[in-house]
Amino acid sequence: MAGLKLVRIDDRLIHGQIITKWLHSSRSNTIVIVDDELVNDEFLSSVFLLAKPDGIDVEIKSAEQAAKEWKETKLGSGNILMLFKTVEQVKKAVGFGLEIKELQVGGIAAKQGKKRVFSTISLSQEEVSDLIDLSNRGIKIYFQMVPEAASTDLDSIVKQNFS
């Protein structure tokens, strides 16, 4: 059945873990990147549209557009792997009416003011509160790098790092 096979936050968007692992294990044939910035960046958009494996569709949408198309057509007939660059964009898209059941946090680079919470994932205080908000809306949030590695849920991450 078509639909959202995997929704993931990963600031590198399409990279090795996506191409060699998640595309296959989630049985997706379409990658939808949701990012307000990227959609307006002509150069990088073309890079992402070209740097894809044979037979996989890549679409880039703004948060609003993605939510709108979700409500209208469930984003078409593909098996979708949806990628977000930031927590903020997920929040925005969900605010516009995108319905997701599960959210995988897979990669958020370390920066000043962020705390490393799980392998290559670092979160700011604001991102944590946003994730908790999303979780309160009934979205199951978990942290995982690759399919063969262990995952952790938001609760334990919050308990270990932010309480």
Binding site: G16, S119, A149
Partner: protein, 531 residues
């Protein structure tokens, strides 16, 4: 084994795995056990047996891709333990594998520790960057992490030294039925390596090539090496017929006029220096916070040194490049080259703000990692290794070192070419390369060759048969004969299918998959259902 031998083996591990110096030559040690087995053989004076053990292990780990430092198992430690035990106790390679695999899983923790040490060094690098000290940035990335990791080598030396004695005692205490079970594990496990590789390159429409490889070996007894030549021919034909190569194919559309600028502040030597810095240290500073960020900054030092003179400019440039960066380091070299070009533009007065440089770096690192991981570790390295597995199985020492040299030298020059290309044409080069369809064609061709070879290797090396016999009034029927009359190698094929379904449907967790395969092996082998 003497203590000196154990220490030398530990130091070899330190050199290729902890320091990871010389990216393209150390990467094979990260992704494949065969090279480490070869080294252990050299030290213990029996390379021939060592590469046989290495070959058996290699089949299990073929196609291991570990993007973003996500390796589930340390294959070099597996090889170290398995090979040294086999060589000192005379244990069969199939048995040594049963010890080696868990050792690899546990050994993985040492790498987590090593990455933790690297974080501290990167933080020190930050300080030097702030002070504008190029030397400090290099020292904190090149010397410190590596010297401190010598300490981590000590537990390995102890394991290598005492391991064989412990293993021998354990083996004596183990009952025969369990030994049968272990042998069965040894014959099932190669299916895991093939299943993992199928996960990366096993596209549905290309699966007939797998069938051809399997049937060719099963019914025509074609050896693996000539099979690879057939595979190369078929890949060539496939690419020609699909228009990927030949007259109508897209070409690298180089518009010489689109070169970034006529004027250059950097010489060819500076650019090569920067690449060599990248090649030498790309993975040395790997950690969970910045991944390859510190290494990236180290690669930029020859550029920064040449372009900037004031303390402020140098410090700003160093800090600019200490941020998070992660890509596949061979094919991702193009991103480093592009960045060098952007820095040069900036130094010549063009309006290239920090955000532009960062945007290009972070935008391009992902896509090129996706391509690079698929090419380097999903196809090229496993194919080269698979070519040499038959020789290694026969105990030919060349098979232990040739894959490292071939992959290492080839990748060294691929990286250099991409780096220079990126520097010459700036950010446009990324689109030029992607539009040329070059990566797609190489991935397609390599996948075809790879699938054909996996087919052949499954037929050759997944040795699952059943000794069961049905007794009826008329006589005895060996079940194996019935299987053979349907399709030769039906059981190996079913085993592969089972393992493939298992890691995709039942448990994606690698550790759980291995544990369950162990249990299945012990039960089926112990009960004498398969042999």
């Amino acid at each position: 084994m003497t203590i000196v031998q154990a220490i030398i083996i530990g130091l070899i591990y330190f050199l290729f795995r902890f320091t990871q110096l010389g990216l393209t030559f150390s990467a094979p040690f990260f992704f494949s056990p065969l090279p480490m087995s070869f080294c252990v053989g050299l030290v213990l004076g029996d390379v021939s047996t060592a590469v046989m053990v290495g070959a058996q292990l290699q089949l299990i780990y073929l196609g291991l891709v570990s993007p973003g430092g996500s390796a589930p198992s340390d294959v070099a430690i597996a090889a170290m333990v398995g090979t040294s035990v086999a060589l000192t106790t005379g244990m069969a390679p199939e048995m040594a594998v049963v010890l080696a695999v868990p050792a690899g899983l546990i050994g993985r923790q040492l790498n987590v520790l090593a990455y933790t040490i690297n974080v501290a060094c990167t933080h020190l690098g930050d300080k030097y960057a702030e002070e504008g000290s190029i030397k400090g940035v290099i020292m904190s990335g090149a010397l410190l992490p590596n010297i401190s990791k010598l300490l981590l080598t000590i537990p390995l030396v102890i394991v290598v030294y005492f391991g064989p004695t412990v293993a021998e005692a354990a083996m004596e205490a183990i009952p025969q039925w369990l030994l049968n079970g272990f042998a069965t594990i040894g014959s099932i496990m190669p299916a895991l390596g093939f299943a993992i590789m199928l996960n990366v390159i096993g596209k549905k429409q290309l699966m007939p090539y797998f069938a051809v490889g399997f049937l060719a070996v099963q019914y025509l007894d074609i050896p693996i090496l000539p099979l690879a030549i057939f595979g190369a021919v078929m890949a060539f034909l496939h690419l020609t017929f699909t228009g990927k190569i030949g007259e109508n194919a897209k070409k690298i559309d180089i518009d010489e006029e689109s070169q970034v600028d006529e004027k250059h502040l950097l010489t060819k030597k500076d650019v090569t220096k920067s690449y060599l810095m990248w090649w030498t240290f790309a993975e040395s500073t790997h950690n969970y916070e910045r991944l390859l960020g510190h290494s990236f900054c180290m690669a930029m030092t020859p550029i920064i040194k040449k372009l900037y003179t004031t303390k402020e400019d140098i410090s700003a440039a160093l800090q600019r490049h200490m941020v998070f960066f992660n890509t596949e380091s061979v094919w991702g070299s193009v991103v480093v080259g592009i960045t060098a070009a952007m820095e040069e533009q900036r130094a010549m007065g063009a309006n290239v703000p920090d955000s532009a440089i960062n945007g290009i770096k972070t935008g391009l690192m992902g896509p090129f990692a996706g391509i690079g991981d698929t090419l380097s570790y999903g196809t090229l390295l496993p194919i080269i290794l698979a070519l040499f597995v038959p020789l290694a199985k026969a105990g030919n020492p060349i098979a232990g070192i040739a894959p490292v040299l071939i992959f290492g030298i080839l990748s060294l020059f691929i990286g250099l070419w991409l780096f220079r290309f990126g520097y010459k044409f700036g950010s446009k080069s990324a689109l030029t390369l992607l539009k040329s369809g070059m990566f797609e064609s190489i991935i397609m061709g390599a996948s075809i060759l790879g699938l054909l070879m996996i087919g052949g290797l499954v037929a050759e090396y997944v040795n699952v048969t059943t000794p069961l016999v049905i007794t009826t009034g008329v006589g005895e029927y060996a079940i194996q004969d019935i299987f053979d009359s349907i399709l030769k190698g039906l059981l190996p094929l079913l085993t592969l299918g089972g393992v493939y379904a298992f890691i995709n449907k039942v448990s994606k967790n690698y550790v759980v998959a291995i544990l369950l395969l162990f249990i299945i092996g012990i039960v089926l082998g112990g009960l004498g259902i398969i042999a």
